[in-house]
């Protein structure tokens, strides 16, 4: 199969079709009916708009972890990530009638989360508060003490290294590796193009390897 060699320049048509599909989280709990759990997001949105509350539950179940990780990647603050995720879903469900399906439901949610974050930042600035968990405040991977269990220590080192990436690289890596978004979706969520998202992702991976190799992890 003939494909472009340059990742950044690979045209959309040359990518595997599956890259644009939206894989679902593997573990979907059975709190809703089978017809809900197998339905596409667009169908669930239609059902929700016609008053089906189970459809709302399914959408929350399917996407809350992605929104949480997205906000966590941007803030580094778990408590804040949980709060913003809740607010995002409340806003999304109230305004669901405005979802036109021009982008995927996932990127629509991430856009709402971004707005919620901005609103939160404005409130915090007005109150004169400072986020306690900015990436620059986190210790460098080399600075961490080696007292944890190996696995926990490794996970912590990876997360710390991720926190030291520039934001767009960090978000691209997190959205792609953790939640399986297509590069097109990553581009929309990070305010860049599909090509930029791909470049950010692979630069981020390269930088992580450098950081973690230095650390003797890989």
């Amino acid at each position: 199969m003939a494909r472009g060699r340059s990742l950044a320049a690979a045209p959309i048509a040359s990518l595997p079709q599956e890259a644009f599909n939206e894989p679902r989280p593997p573990s979907v709990r059975r709190s809703v009916t089978d017809s809900h759990s197998t339905a596409e997001d667009g169908e669930l949105v239609s059902r929700a708009l016609s008053g089906d509350r189970m459809a709302l539950d399914m959408l929350a179940e399917r996407h809350h972890a992605m929104v949480y990780r997205f906000v966590l990647s941007r803030t580094g603050d778990e408590e804040r990530a949980a709060d913003v995720t809740q607010d995002t879903f409340v806003k999304a469900f109230r305004g669901m009638a405005s979802f036109r399906g021009e982008s995927s439901f996932r990127t629509w949610l991430l856009a709402i989360a971004t707005n919620e974050l901005r609103a939160g930042f404005r409130k915090t600035e007005r109150r004169g508060e400072v986020s306690l968990h900015r990436a620059s405040d986190l210790p460098h991977p080399d600075d961490l003490p080696d007292t944890h269990a190996v696995r926990e220590s490794e996970i912590q080192r990876i997360r710390t290294a991720l926190a030291h990436l520039p934001e767009k690289q960090r978000l691209s890596v997190a959205l792609r590796l953790f939640d399986g978004l297509s590069f097109r979706e990553v581009g929309i969520a990070t305010g860049s193009t599909e090509g930029s998202a791909r470049v950010n992702f692979f630069h981020g991976i390269r930088r992580l390897r450098e950081m973690l190799d230095e650390d003797g992890l890989h």
Binding site: A10, P16, L49, L56, A60, A82, Q86, F89, I155, I158
Partner: protein, 168 residues
């Protein structure tokens, strides 16, 4: 189905853990990795990773990163569902109340403006004639530009003075 390194990287990054698992099972001589997946690309990826050491190394690194995926607190989903369950459904809630509020504000605003506005000036037949003639002038003289001097109306001496003036 063959896969090159570019495709292999793309697909490994999309599902890093399954990519690594597929490659491992393939490398161990098991057909499970490709036979189980309904997607033919899974088998192609597993085969590529089993034969390309560099891509296998990249896929393994991405899988290692993916294992550090943070999970939300367990109570987060139920908190979201509690918050969203107790409101009206999306169709009836936001759009309905917003539309009602908009109609109310609009009608109040229009009523207030029409109440406070001065009565319209009354025009006699002569006023209408003058206005109509004025409009006619502009309609006929399409080359006029607002604010520009009408040179044709100036006497010769003033035109010469304008030509000699350095500042205009």
């Amino acid at each position: 189905m063959k896969m090159d390194c570019t495709d292999a990287l793309e697909r490994s990054s999309l599902r890093p853990l399954s990519a690594e698992g597929g490659a491992a099972s393939r490398a161990q001589g098991s057909a499970q990795g490709s036979a189980e997946g309904s997607d033919p690309w899974d088998g192609a990826l597993a085969h590529h990773l089993a034969t390309c050491a560099e891509c296998a190394r990249d896929a393994a690194f991405m899988a290692r990163l993916a294992r550090a995926r943070p999970e939300p607190p367990q109570e987060l989903l139920s908190a979201i569902q509690m918050k969203t369950r107790h409101g009206p459904t999306p169709s009836g809630w936001w759009s309905g109340s917003m539309a009602a509020a908009a109609v109310l504000i609009l009608s109040l605003g229009v009523g207030l403006i029409s109440h406070q506005a001065d009565p319209p000036p009354s025009f006699g037949p002569l006023d209408a004639l003058v206005m109509n003639e004025g409009m006619q002038d502009w309609e006929d003289e399409e080359w006029y530009v607002a604010g520009a001097p009408v040179l044709e109306a100036l006497p010769e001496q003033m035109l010469l003075a304008l030509l000699q003036e350095e500042t205009w």
